[in-house]
Subunit: 251 residues, 4 copies
């Protein structure tokens, strides 16, 4: 395998579906949302993507079988969605650009007119009510997204958006595909299902669909317990701390 390889698992016809990208990233926010949507909707896998830009590795499943790391695209025909999920992003610039090109080619094949890319926005401390920040590749989308509660702040995120979530906006613009990036605020140190809930809540409004969030809520509660224990341990060591304690040392 010297080249990125796209394997079509199932042929489906779609009419201008919306693409959702939720690959691994800060707080695994995008991945949590997209995988939740795949599970709740019972979407079918239609594409597998293998690439020499992914780590040279197989993952071992519970029963002892191993499979090559990959990205996958699922189709939720009821809601007319293509959902991009996966094990890894690339490690190099060249790989990132090549894979984004592959994702866009698939989007174009299915006639995708809009892409939502999902991610986390690391702010370096725990927060109780994560906001959802937005970035768009077409000015008109700002007002539309504000209606759903997405916040746009000057110079946020300051460092831009890195990886597939960013490139699909930037490269999509060059091909006239509308794209919106939704970023849930998150500490950046822990997998964050609460931030994922916030993003999913906004996303379901924009898609005008209702999604059962109980599985994500369950995971958020478990994570709350872990965080509570961490705070407790810290209190014992260092006295009372406030809600926005910097947890950067947990990594």
């Amino acid at each position: 395998m010297k080249e990125t390889t796209v394997i079509t698992i199932k042929d489906v016809k779609l009419k201008n579906p919306i693409m959702i990208e939720g690959l691994p990233g800060v707080g695994h926010v995008g991945k949590l949302v997209a995988e939740h949507m795949v599970e709740e909707s019972g979407a079918d896998k239609v594409v597998e993507i293998y690439s020499p830009h992914f780590p040279p590795q197989v993952l071992v499943m519970d029963e002892g079988t191993a499979r090559l790391v990959r990205n996958e695209i699922y189709v939720d025909q009821k809601h007319n969605l293509l959902i991009l999920v996966g094990d890894y992003q690339c490690a190099t610039s060249e790989g990132h650009y090549e894979l984004a090109r592959v994702y866009l080619d698939i989007a174009k094949k299915y006639g995708v007119k809009r892409i939502y890319t999902l991610g986390g926005y690391g702010i370096g401390k725990l927060i109780d009510k994560p906001r959802v920040l937005g970035a768009v590749n077409k000015l008109e989308l700002v007002d539309e997204m504000r209606k759903y509660g997405v916040e746009f702040k000057e110079n946020e995120p300051g460092g831009g958006v890195v990886g597939a979530s960013g490139l699909l906006l930037g490269m999509g613009a060059l091909e006239n595909i509308e794209a919106v990036c939704l970023m849930g605020e998150t500490s950046g140190y822990l997998v964050d299902p609460k931030s994922a809930q916030a993003v999913l809540s906004v996303l379901s409004k924009t898609l005008n669909m209702s999604i059962d969030m109980s599985a994500l809520e369950e995971r958020a509660k478990e994570m709350e317990k872990i965080v509570a224990k961490l705070r407790e341990m810290e209190k014992i060591q260092a006295g009372p701390i406030s809600a926005d304690t910097d947890l950067s040392y947990i990594g």
Copy 2:
């Protein structure tokens, strides 16, 4: 040399041989097993593989001659085996994928139907009786391998299998070549002939062949002495230690 180069040293005809991969890795377990098999069987070298993805280096042999680093494939015609051994694996993702592609192409040329990849599974401490863990690329193989004493545990190895041993499973599956990875438990800090013995013992059962292990046993005894000295040195410095002392500081 801009491309990986495969040089055929000797033409042989084989009917559905089994391929054994034992390239350098954790504890050099796979390499020890595969090189032992080459030596014991008097297998013939049939292929040399050179690649710009290997280190830019020659190795100097005892008599002063130097040769380019490479991987090699030997044929044991009596047991119908292709054995892949070598000096190095690649340093980059792209290199790993490209070389795995080369190994699989060679396997297909010879009609290989099954591959055993051999390696070590680092557990961070010395152990007396290393288990042999397995991963397979087809569910049916789990039960078959259990019969030979291979253990399959949920989430082990947790980090998946990296390098040629993993990729041959993952990429082999995409081409319908059965593959099994046998991993001997090992500290991860020392070359481990005892773990190699455990792997070879399982492998010889699956291949239904008997292999003289005395050379490996000899090396295992030598290593035992080195470990004993290390323990002694440690005892003097820090008092009695148990059998599972963490030796991670020996690197």
Copy 3:
């Protein structure tokens, strides 16, 4: 996007224009000068350059829109100039050489006969009167540049010139395109509009054009205030310091 992509935004005809390169680098001196020239002259953007050798990233603009990182070429038709500016340089050797090749191909397309590359020359301490050092790709240019106040010193800069500013000289020479690198002395630790003023002052003389520098002066004054505060903080901590205090700890 697997390849560097050059998009022509606007067709213009020019007769042997001069090319100015001001990409990010030491003290952002070159970038400050080139962007100032674009703003003051109201130059038109004629080319956008995207590349997988740039970081895999979009930048988020004030209003919430994102755009792919890129380099750009502007045309100042009044002064017959092509001005190369951009967000980033490349991270790899191969990328640097490829992009320099792209810039030179564009230069040749427009019939460019001379290139000025602009940068900073880090000296590790603050200075009040930055000199402008030069390097050229044709011996005759040394005397010509000395007339405009450019200094040439033996073995300066000792480490050569790295990146686009260097490669355009070196690769330009192989194609008979005259090129001059103007380097403003700068600490190397801070964005340096004062050094940019020094470079711009020399450059405007060589181009025989007058450029309003008030915007750069404004930025230089702001930076002076920041530096003054840094010095003040330091004085409190460590007693009086001289004008050439090493500020290498400010990063």
Copy 4:
């Protein structure tokens, strides 16, 4: 420049010349020898080699002119030699292999039947009488080289030979070009003209030519003075030291 570029400066006809490689490396031993030979013989430059695998950089010469980093081949017609010298070796494995391929193609174009590659062998301490170690790509060459005082020791150098000096042996063997690597012992911490003298002394015997070494001797004496000062400084700090003091802290 996306590809390595070979520019022929001058056409010369040679009959089975010998190629000498002296690129930068440990103690710059090979570079010192090869550049000395170019200067003493007044050899003509016949080839320039530019490559995106070299650093993206120009070097600034004394008079203020800059030139792209490169490797060069000189011809000493009197002694029937091709001499390969240069500014840098490559930073990546792929680059090393590609450039070695380029050097070998040039060697074959000129009908080269034997290559001498020159380098240093770092031993971690200063020595008064550096030996010259050898590695060859054909067993018969061991005895021939021993006659000239080259030493061959089991497992030396243990780590093999890295870079152009190694690859020309390894890749040359695959094309039936004889090659010998001569390595002068050196501390590994300092540029070492004394080690270069030892290598040149052996090389001139094998080539049956006499070379004026006074320039190298001069440089060796200067370096002796620097080393003497370093020893003096050390003595003051730490008492008397022996001739084989480890100087690894001088980087």
